[in-house]
Amino acid sequence: MEGTAVQRRLTWQVANVTAATTETPAVRTIELAVPEWPGHRAGQHLDVRLTAEDGYVAERSYSIASAPGEPVSITVERLEDGEVSPYLTEELRVGDELELRGPVGGYFVWEEADGGPLLLVAGGSGIVPLRAIIRQHQHSGSDAPVRLLYSARTLPDVIYRAELDSYADDIAISYTLTRARPPGWTGYARRVDAELLAEVAWPAGQQPLAFVCGPTSFVETVAGGLVGLGYRPERVKTERFGGTGGA
């Protein structure tokens, strides 16, 4: 498999929390110092393991939010009935230790050699691995053109908004807000459907490469819509997560 020529044993290790940034009221980015990090590719994950005093263990997988070469970070959305995310978003402090293993995954990844045109479609916190891809695209100096479609409930729910807007010269970004819009909103104002995709997505004839990440129902709608537009199924990479997503 490309980029994974050396087989590596996947082991749990203890990382240190070096920074924690509030992205939205329910979303936090946690930066980690990982002693033995072999490096990662944009779009990969890591697994977090929490162990309670009574020995109960909970493991969850999170997308890595940072690009290759940057300090490892994850962006976590608090799920109201979650076992792990409330701890990560509310309890964990800078200086604390966190048990993790990674990177894992090799399907939902993008490298400069993969080219484009790139279509990135995010629902809610599905933006996290796509942000790593966008940063990698910027760092690598790739000339593949990029379009991003990001669906969120409301404008304050948009994660990384200032950062994303700073890419506006390089990347065509379309937002759609599904629940509420600020006065004077000029973006889209509905759930992503086939018609919206047809307006935003690269024409299929350009052989685009799509990455779609969000809640399961969102991903099914978008992936189905893109294939309906003529995208080759193997060029539509999907990742479904269990967050509320708000898309």
Partner: protein, 86 residues
């Protein structure tokens, strides 16, 4: 019941198989459909992980952990093939 995909079990699959598995092509024993492991339907923590075919919903794989040992049932998978071999 949560419904995810094969990306969500990348870590446990790497642990079991000793290498990255989500980009590997899996063929369903029931319907013959072949797709990356990442595209399978995963019902996590039931308490084990139940993996189904995204085409016909047949059972592909069940992973349970008993006293720290992963028990892996691959009965529904006809073939696993690295994408570079295809």
């Amino acid at each position: 019941m949560q419904k995810l995909d094969g990306n969500a079990i990348a870590g446990v699959l790497h642990e079991i198989f000793g290498e990255e598995m989500t980009a590997v092509m899996a063929t369903c024993e029931s319907c013959g459909f072949t797709a990356p492991v990442a595209n399978t339907v995963v019902y996590p923590r039931l308490p084990g992980e139940v993996v189904r075919c995204s085409n016909c919903a047949a059972l592909l794989m069940v992973i349970t952990r008993i006293r720290g040992v992963n028990c892996v049932d691959l009965r529904g998978i006809a073939a696993l093939k690295s994408p570079v071999d295809t």
